[in-house]
């Protein structure tokens, strides 16, 4: 138990250093020339990786997961509201788990 505070302090400092490295400066750090074309793909790559990982780590049943994702895609394109997309996906998932289509 005595190690908790030093470990916490070091973890906090290390994490804050990573956060401050680019965002803590008054002027944004310009990306190197060769990276300029690449930076536009960083957000979509990050979100793509997170979505795939979250679905991979998520619940085990594949059919409800796929149905929920399809419902979310349809709702997002038709309604365009994040909250409704999420709630609709959850509802379809719940229905697919409790009333299996297959």
């Amino acid at each position: 138990m005595s190690d908790f505070l030093p470990a916490l302090a070091l973890s906090c400092l290390g994490t804050m250093f990573l956060r401050l490295f680019f965002l803590g400066r008054g002027e944004p750090v310009p990306a190197p020339e060769f990276l300029k074309g690449a930076m536009e793909f960083v957000p979509v790559s990050i979100l793509g990786a997170l979505v795939f990982l979250e679905f991979h780590h998520g619940p085990a049943q594949p059919v409800p997961k796929i149905l929920a994702a399809l419902a979310a895609i349809l709702l997002s394109f038709s309604l365009g509201r994040d909250l409704l997309t999420i709630l609709g996906g959850l509802l379809v998932y719940w229905l697919a788990v409790n009333f299996p289509p297959l």
Partner: protein
């Protein structure tokens, strides 16, 4: 103020509205973190202090597990930093969108609020050509619900464990939150769709394939691969003159 650009307050409120749905994806993790911290023998104040100081979900879960196993402080902190390395990528990506010359307090605040959720919520909004808010204040607004939700759900998880009935499909909330944000970004992006889809699927598939690498390195590598795929696809598209 620049003409047509919303005020600081309106930008903050718009950010709050953007960041609030993310709470649904965050709550299960907060509950799990709180319960895991209690099981590992941390006190309530230690659990809450870590949520305030570190404020990074996966890193906090790793901390709790390693601390429970008796790993020494230095190795534990290094592991936390490795798990959080992606914050460097997030910072370099979102930094150019935020206002320059902000004071020290605001620079500290925006750095502190950098998480998967605040990054995803803000970047997907910044990508829209119709975005009319002040990015730094929008970003702070988008990050605040995440902060509040994380602190509250961690405390709730510690105090009462997982009190929600199993029929509530919270385990599916996080995937759907990120999917909603991704779709929102894809719909409103300024660049061609094909290279972005190339980037998305390369990053996504490699993230799953490299998932077993330690310290979240698989995520970093998959982001790199996704970016390379996007660049290659974009260049090929230009060469073909499409």
């Amino acid at each position: 103020m620049e003409e047509g650009v919303a005020s600081k307050e309106a930008s903050f409120v718009a950010g709050l509205a953007r960041g609030s749905p993310i709470l649904m994806g965050l709550l299960p993790f907060g509950l799990i973190y709180g319960a895991a911290a209690r099981d590992a023998g941390l006190s309530f104040s230690q659990t809450a202090l870590m949520s305030v100081l570190v404020f990074a979900g996966s890193a906090q879960l790793v901390f709790v597990n390693l601390w429970n196993e008796g790993v020494n402080s230095l190795a534990l902190a290094l592991t936390v930093v490795l798990v959080n390395l992606r914050l460097l990528v997030y910072g370099s990506s979102i930094g150019p969108f935020l206002e320059r010359n902000q004071g020290l307090f605001w620079r500290l605040a925006r750095s502190y609020l950098l998480t998967d959720e605040s990054y995803a919520a803000s970047l997907s909004a910044f990508a829209s050509p119709a975005f009319k808010y002040r990015p730094a204040f929008f970003y702070l607004g988008a990050g605040f619900p995440t902060w509040l939700g994380w602190q509250a759900s961690g405390a709730a998880g510690y105090l009462s464990g997982s009190f929600l009935p199993e029929s509530v499909p919270l385990e599916m909330a996080a995937p759907l939150v990120f999917l909603a944000l991704l779709l929102s970004m894809l719909k409103s992006g300024r660049t061609a769709l094909t290279p972005r889809l190339c980037s998305l699927f390369t990053a996504g598939i490699s993230a799953v394939l490299l998932n077993s690498l330690p310290y979240n390195l698989g995520l970093l590598l998959s982001i790199l691969l996704g970016v390379l795929a996007g660049v290659a696809s974009s260049r090929a598209k230009r060469r073909r003159g499409v």
